[in-house]
Symmetry: C3
Subunit: 218 residues, 3 copies
């Protein structure tokens, strides 16, 4: 139950991040919907392919299609409210990262893979949809860029994995999931807000082909 | 039989679209062949991965490699005839979209997945190869851009799925496949020809990182 | 044993190529690690997904994560030594291509697929990680560009496949693996060094959206 609620919320916020990115890139309404659905479902499909779940659950349950499509249409309709700013997209992306990392880790553990494999698959679930969104829009994925991103996801995955090891009662396990997701969001938002940056080789000549161009709007 | 004929034709036209895009991007003859083969096989491999067919049929049957490679070499040799124009690539892409959407939907139905799952997997089969081609050439995929694309594929997938529900005799089922594919091509070509565009948020400031640059040549 | 040694060396050199490309693109230390790990594991994960191995072995064995992460940190720390030059990245990429093509072909043969399928899956294993690296950095993948690349991989895959057909004793089979990998590296390095280029349609008008921009630094 908690897992499904987390996943549905994750779908909605990742769909919003995809739709906002699509509006910013001047896609039409269909492109915005396709991009939002791809962003929302990408991580979960990747998880199911890695775990050997056929066909992926995101393609079996119609709600997995309906929720992101509805969110995309709402964003397209109301884009004036927030689309000029890059920030709402980044916030939605952070929440989706947290929710999908946690649900991906939990799903992998349910399928009996080792703990560290579950953490990696959870991270991939969280990172996958946003990476796909960025590649489709020809941007260097957020996960490769300035702020703490993969590390935030890893922290959340570890919380869930440790919780599973402790064999907590159901209620406590649900609480651990929520705490794991919240940890990802808090770390990621703090990194964005405080401009926590990891070291870059600033003395490197670099050049025009680098990713710097994408960072202007931060 | 009809399914194999549809697939082989789909392979040839998608290979042509990949080869034309490769020549336009000034790839050498090997790059053109690799891109053509990837474009032709990408959708079917994606379909088989989603359905859990291992190894993908496109990697088992040598004709799946020979047909696109031969088409790519022919396009490379005769590129002067049509390569300056973007149009032949778009026409080949539309035909491939129709054929692969239909064969992907039918293959998914044969594997016993629910009807709406089959439609989604069929769409993915149709869209996958072209999206891969565009990402590899650093273009925003056609499916995200101006004209009706995913919607055309969805229409064809629905025709096939409804046909399967009606439990028609074999001959009629084959006819339905052809009608589904033709519907995709007609809708897509009409959209290209009449410049049917879905609403875009034109008042949006956009900027330099958007997809507008790709649309110049339409 | 030989297969594991080949894979670990392949992981290290592909990680180095990914890390060097990441430093060049001015990613921070986390981005460099993520890109290096993705480059190193991408081909093997693709191979396991195509063969239906769940979860992919790269996500089960912790050394598959530790080796590329350590290499990435070392490259980041010592980037001044070589990062200004594109050449070290290309050399590491060539060695990784050889090692992964050979280990991918051998793994596929072990899973009982037909010989030509094993060659294709071996090529994909070799090409996959580098292609993913280039797409994430918004470069047109090496495999589509000027020098002999896929053809070098194909030669190595064929050597391994023919060796397997001959049913050699274990020692000789290991030697064949090493010869296959060495052949890929030699062909690829000769192509780079002697600027062996396949024909391009130089008379083609091309334009600004092509891949020429990436080739400046060769």
């Amino acid at each position: 139950m908690v897992l499904i609620a987390l996943e549905m919320t994750g779908l909605a916020v990742f769909a919003a991040s995809g739709a906002l990115a699509g509006v910013r890139a001047r896609l039409d309404v269909f492109g915005v919907v396709v991009l939002a659905v791809t962003t929302a479902l990408g991580g979960g499909i990747l998880r199911d392919v890695l775990l050997g779940i056929h066909p992926p659950s995101a393609l079996r349950d119609w709600r997995f299609l309906a929720v992101p499509a509805a969110v995309a249409l709402a964003v397209f309709a109301g884009h004036r409210v927030f689309a000029r700013l890059r920030r709402p997209m980044l916030v939605a992306d952070a929440i989706g990262l947290g929710l999908f990392t946690v649900s991906g880790t939990a799903t992998a553990l349910e399928h009996g893979v080792p703990v560290h494999t579950a953490c990696l698959i959870g991270m991939t679930t969280g990172i996958g949809g946003g990476a796909l969104r960025d590649v489709l829009l020809r941007e260097i994925p957020l996960v490769l860029r300035r702020e703490i991103y993969a590390l935030a996801a890893l922290a959340g995955a570890l919380v869930v994995a440790v919780g599973a090891r402790l064999e907590l009662p159901v209620g406590a396990a649900s609480a651990v999931s929520v705490i794991g997701a919240a940890l990802v969001v808090v770390v990621r938002m703090l990194a964005l807000w405080r401009h926590w940056n990891a070291p870059v080789r600033a003395d490197h000549p670099g050049g025009f082909s680098g990713g710097s161009q994408n960072d202007r709007e931060h």
